[in-house]
Symmetry: C2
Subunit: 212 residues, 2 copies
């Protein structure tokens, strides 16, 4: 397998965690987002949407979209499971994951921040304020929901990491880059710390990637 990766991409970070939790090794090609390599001809041959990550399988198939890749890995390599057994619990985990992966991250990723700069003249502070605004549309409700729900354990759901944790940690790392204080979100902070105790999460962090 080959992962098309970028150290600071939250979506790629998710897939790095997922691969490591499954004990899978992938070769890596770094696609430098700040240099626009995702829009270059070579990468568009891999992923015509020009987005990172992509996962190329040994038969040449290319999977795109981090959550689709992670669900694929979970179906092909069932242990350890990223989703619990019952449909209601699975819906809970997917919903927690999507509150980040659909309703937070896409509004705050690099291409959106660049568009704010180029169309609306946003400066560094404007971009940071936009980032924090959208994270703060999600984190208070997410923290409270996790705190209140008996389904929450050491991790977002129970005592093993799930798809929800795989989405949480990269969003927390992104928020830290924009100086968002996690002290107000004790449950998110606690779960993130539990994740970072696992080498699969720790080794996937942006600073540990070779091109960082």
């Amino acid at each position: 397998m080959r992962l098309y990766d970028y150290f600071r991409s939250s979506a790629a970070f998710r897939v790095r965690i997922a691969l490591a939790l499954k004990g899978l090794e992938a070769d890596r090609t770094y696609v430098h987002l700040r240099r626009g390599e995702q829009r270059g001809a070579a990468y568009l041959q891999v992923n015509s949407f020009g987005l990172v990550p992509s996962l190329e399988l040994d038969d040449g198939s290319v999977l795109t979209q981090s959550l689709a890749i992670i669900e694929y890995l979970d179906e092909e390599y069932p242990e350890p499971a990223f989703l619990p057994g019952g449909p209601l619990d699975r819906a809970r985990v997917r919903s927690l994951a999507l509150s980040l992966a659909a309703d937070t991250h896409p509004i705050t990723n690099l291409r959106v921040l660049e568009e704010l700069r180029s169309v609306y003249g946003a400066d560094d502070e404007g971009v940071a304020a936009w980032y924090r605004h959208w994270v703060l549309q999600t984190f208070p409700a997410l923290d409270a929901a996790l705190e209140a729900d008996p389904g929450t354990g050491v991790f977002c759901h129970g005592d093993t990491p799930t798809l929800a944790d795989i989405c949480l940690v990269p969003q927390v790392f992104g928020a830290a880059r924009f100086d968002l204080d996690l002290e107000a979100f004790p449950t998110l902070k606690r779960i993130t710390a539990a994740c970072m105790d696992l080498s699969a999460f720790d080794n996937a962090r942006p600073e540990r990637q070779p091109e960082a």
Copy 2:
């Protein structure tokens, strides 16, 4: 079941289609997004994230996030299936769906457009340009990918509607509201027309909702 719904919400539109395809009936509560009812105390008791849709089950459980709800419906009511059988095909369908539900829709939904108005003074034309910009980051690649892939049939994957079609149609309806011409995207146009021939899609369209 009770669906907390809003006629113009793309995410709620997806769940209306999914319920209808499964032959399920749900009572409906309309949450008027333009009046801010999603941030009112009554609705926050249902969904503390203040987002539409939510699906309340007969046992009182509340499911949130449209894709999590739709995967739940597919697991609990397997026929007709929203995902194909093999992991690679399932990854393809989920990826197509997420190219819209994660990488397009969240950047262009009402709360983001309102934020652009309030923070950056965007006017109607600015908001429409923003909307079209993000749709045009996805539709060309999506149209070409669907045209090129032998997995595409009458619908996005094969000859029965999947999660991908359920995400496509609401995005096409949204784009039409912002005067985006679908002529440049013949495969999206063809698949959308095939969907709209089905009553499950047609009855779910915004104009057919009681509060429209």
